[in-house]
């Protein structure tokens, strides 16, 4: 449009490094590990509690993984439905009155609590947490009501194309392993009884192996004392169960699942990725960014900013404890489905077989270092980051050491990591779309299983 003279982009000032948070730690007599950090700012405290909660592999018999998952799901959803002294509504009102919010949920590896509260309400919130951990009652009316509600919510959840694709992908990658199905079916839920939840609670919600992280505007020693006062009486004798090892990644054709009339195809490709403690981690992280892990990547430039096939292509890494994975995601318009897959495979192949540019690598490196600092710049962000690190067996020093690892990654390191983890023939592919329109074009590119 208007012609205006170009101006030079200003240089950066000298960076002011973030101070490494000081983490106070105490292991209570019951085995609970407590981490506390003072972060001045708003008068709030952020709490995260991780309780190991893995289930078995396989189905049928005494160690039915699917039955366990159904129970665990409902346990997370009804844990706050009543204690020895409070009904569900009383508990909710008490937490609200403290300026607090408290939630609990389970996944294939753990039970997680998240809470935030006005600092003035922290003792009260810890008292509620103590009651929940030591005397949750799982009232029959609430369990049955929540079970029915969950069946409805799951039906709504599973009506989303992204969920259909995720469930198909995880099932294909992990089979009967607990990671193969994150959520129960209506039938499995209908088998769950309140008495089973009470029994599961007693066996598995134990302080040994659990980690509580507290970040807020209060002295760490006071935070530790408050937690110890509230939770030292939590003495369940259960044992932490580790998630079973993952099966080998599957071979086989891409899976195409029908969504008749869909105006977009939901494309997902996924495979194993290095964990945070793997020597490949930093190099892989940068290779993934260069490929498609942020907006300024090759894949986004190609299929969005050049060709307009999609709105939000993204290559994301998740770190569940039994094995990390990378997942390449894009929702592409139906007529461009095959072309989008072609470009995706091309960009994966390119990053896996040809050197990345030094400039691309440096840009990805600065991004990775920068967003790590941003992620700890609020109380909530710092609490979540520290809790995740602790769950992976890492301490706060990782926030200092990881940037140094990123700084050391070379072009060759990045290519080697990409070849190991992003080569398209190593990834499991799932597409959800209108089979009538996309099957034939897709078959020109890949072996396809329709089902």
């Amino acid at each position: 449009m208007t012609t205006v003279q170009k101006r030079p982009v200003p240089p950066l000032a000298k960076p002011r490094p973030a101070k490494l948070p000081v983490v106070a730690e105490r292991v209570l007599d019951n085995g609970l590990r407590v981490l506390a950090v003072r972060r001045r700012g708003v008068p709030l405290a952020e709490l995260r509690l991780r309780v190991p909660f893995a289930g078995p592999t396989g189905r049928g018999g005494r160690s039915d993984g699917h039955a366990f998952r159904a129970q665990a799901q409902l346990l997370g959803d009804t844990l706050l439905s009543g204690t020895a002294t409070r009904t569900a509504a009383q508990l909710a009102a008490d937490v609200q009155a403290l300026g607090g919010q408290l939630s609990a949920s389970t996944d294939a590896d753990r039970l997680g609590f998240g809470a935030s509260v006005l600092v003035s309400g922290l003792p009260g919130l810890l008292d509620v947490l103590r009651e929940v951990l030591t005397s949750a009652t799982y009232p029959k009316h609430e369990v049955v009501g929540e079970r029915d509600r969950l069946v409805q919510e799951l039906a709504i959840y599973r009506s989303q194309a992204a969920v259909v694709a995720r469930e198909a992908l995880l099932s294909r990658m992990y089979g009967e392993h607990p990671y193969g199905r994150e959520l129960p079916t209506a039938e499995e839920l209908s088998e769950v009884k309140a008495s089973q939840l009470r029994s599961l609670h007693g066996k598995r919600i134990a302080p040994e192996g659990s980690i509580l992280t507290l970040v807020g505007d209060l002295p760490p020693s006071r935070a530790l004392d408050l937690v110890e006062t509230a939770l030292s009486g939590w003495t369940a004798a259960g044992k932490a169960v580790q998630t079973p090892p993952l099966p080998a990644p599957p071979d086989g054709p891409a899976l195409l699942r029908d969504r008749p009339g869909a105006v977009q195809t939901t494309l997902r490709m996924s495979g194993p990725a290095p964990s945070r403690t793997d020597p490949d981690y930093a190099a892989f992280g940068l290779a993934n960014l260069v490929f498609g892990g942020y907006f300024s990547s090759r894949w986004v430039a190609n299929i969005r900013e050049d060709k307009g096939y999609t709105y939000s292509p993204h290559s994301q890494v998740e770190h569940p404890p039994a094995g990390s994975r990378v997942t390449v995601s894009a929702d592409v318009s139906t007529p461009t489905t095959a072309a989008a897959l072609l470009e995706t495979v091309y960009e994966l192949g390119r990053v896996a077989t040809t050197p990345v540019g030094q400039d691309e690598l440096d840009q990805a490196r600065r991004y990775a270092i920068g967003v790590l600092a941003l992620s700890t710049a609020s109380q909530a962000g710092l609490a979540s980051t520290l809790s995740q690190l602790a769950g992976a067996g890492l301490g706060v020093e990782w926030l200092r050491d990881h940037p140094a690892q990123l700084a050391a990654v070379t072009v060759d390191d990045a290519r080697a990591a990409a070849a190991r983890y992003l080569a398209p023939n190593r990834l499991t592919t799932v597409l959800v779309g209108d089979v009538a329109q996309v099957e034939a074009p897709l078959r020109t590119l890949v072996d396809l299983e329709v089902g």
């Binding site: 960076p15 403290l98 003035s120 309400g121 029915d148 709105y311 318009s333 920068g370």
Partner: protein, 449 residues
């Protein structure tokens, strides 16, 4: 700056919020000769900075035949500017360790970066460059029309409950095109958008005098003021468009409509009322509190009754503003209640229960402890939002733009605390069946009925 802290110990009863729950962020403001309003809020606790630019134009300003244009234009602002080629804005921000985005709302369009504070001047330069001149080519326009269409597909057309209720309620609740049209855009309108439209939209609405710039975080005010003058100061002033009134009278009688959603497995209903002009916070905030009394958590009126007790609903939410932020829209704006329910519960039963609970609040009011606990959590949630530099910058921007008062960032907790039970009761009394819009979402195509 050290923040004052609440000192009250926990009690079994509700915490009466002391004034100490208010934050005390620094607010400094100045204007440039070209009309740009600037808010600075230094806070050196983390070496990060948020830079936000709010243009006073949103979906409401779109002309007939150009639905979705404000949002499409937001995309164009990332496609190149006076000194930057396509994708360079992204690479300068991300490649220096930052994140960025933009979003289009009913009454404004915003752009922001969160960066290491060493990149403050860079972020200001980038925003100034595209305020000075946006550089769009036909190729980029065509590309972004395709991208926006894919955004609508993923968020609306290929998604169950897509656009429910934010795209479905306005045509029922409002009559004026400005308030009632589809702000995401009709595909025909999007495809017929031209470069001339883009230049005209930029010239008219992206004048420096129509914008607020906020910089919050690890900054030195004097230095940032110098950078702002250096990079934004020579952008020529342009006339600032007068914002027309979009006010409409309340509905004279109930209006109902049915939408069929072939992807949805279960029914849902949205109820919407027009509320008093948000400009008058004393009249408006009781409605914001009312939404929470009704729907925030297991101890709220509707959730306790419908989800916990009689199980007539599976999901309930209540909020002010089409996009769920009560303090980011001007008049007119809706109060919305959204209920997802099982097939076994009839629509009539759901509506009757909601009416009963509203009537009960209107006749009996509520006790102070219920109000206090509601406001306690609202306050904590608000503090959590402004704890991050981005939440703080965006909150201050919209307060400054719409109310000329970024200081509200610190004052809001006290204003919430001043709401009394009688005001919530009076607000509930206005949400009657005869002034509401009721949108029913039915699963299926509607063809087998």
């Amino acid at each position: 700056m050290k923040q004052p802290r609440a000192r009250r110990a926990a009690t079994k009863g509700p915490v009466r919020l002391a004034k100490a729950a208010s934050p005390s962020y620094v607010v400094e403001r100045f204007s440039l000769d070209n009309g740009l309003r600037v808010v600075l809020s230094p806070d050196t606790s983390s070496p990060v900075v948020a830079v936000a630019v709010y243009y006073d134009v949103g979906m409401r300003s779109e002309p007939q035949g150009r639905t979705g244009f404000a949002h499409l234009f937001e995309h164009m602002m990332f496609q190149g500017s006076a000194s930057l080629g396509k994708t360079e804005h992204f690479s300068h921000v991300q490649g220096n360790g930052g994140t960025l985005n933009g979003s289009t709302h009913v009454d404004y369009t915003n752009y922001y970066e969160v960066m290491p504070s060493a990149a403050t001047e860079l972020a200001l330069f980038l925003e100034a460059d595209r305020m000075r001149s946006v550089a769009v080519t036909q190729e980029n326009l065509d590309n972004q029309i395709a991208v926006v269409q894919n955004e609508i597909r993923v968020n609306v057309l290929n998604r169950p409950y897509g656009g429910f209720p934010w795209l479905m309620v306005p045509p029922l609740l409002f009559d004026d095109f400005a308030n009632s049209h589809n702000g995401y855009g009709d595909f025909v309108d999007l495809e017929s958008s031209t470069l001339e439209d883009a230049q005209a939209f930029f010239d008219r609405y992206y004048a420096p005098g129509n914008a607020v710039l906020t910089v919050a975080g690890d900054i030195d005010s004097a230095q940032v003021r110098g950078w702002v003058e250096q990079h934004f100061g020579d952008i020529p002033a342009r006339p600032v468009p007068e914002r027309p009134s979009f006010a409409e009278p309340p509905l004279a009688q109930e209006k109902r409509a049915v939408e069929h959603d072939r992807l949805a497995p279960a029914p849902a209903v949205a109820m919407a009322w027009r509320v008093p002009d948000p400009a008058d916070l004393a009249t408006y905030l009781p409605y914001v509190v009312l939404a929470e009394v009704l729907t925030d958590g297991d101890a709220s009126r509707l959730q306790e009754r419908m989800i916990l007790n009689d199980r007539s609903a599976t999901h309930i939410s209540g909020y002010l503003g089409l996009l769920g932020d009560p303090l980011d829209a001007r008049d007119p704006t809706p109060f919305l209640l959204e209920v997802h329910h099982p097939e076994e519960t009839s629509l009539d039963a759901v509506v009757a229960t909601v009416d009963q609970e509203l009537a009960r609040l209107a006749s009996d009011g509520l006790e102070l402890p219920e109000l206090d606990r509601t406001v306690a959590r609202m306050t904590a949630r608000y503090l959590r939002e402004v704890d991050g530099v981005l939440g703080r910058a965006t909150t201050m921007s919209v307060f400054e733009q719409q109310r000329g008062r970024a200081e509200l960032v610190n004052e809001l907790p006290d204003l919430l605390r001043q709401v009394v039970p009688a005001q919530v009761q009076e607000a509930a009394a206005t949400l009657t069946p005869d002034t509401r819009a009721l949108l029913e979402l039915r699963p299926g195509t509607g063809e087998d009925a």
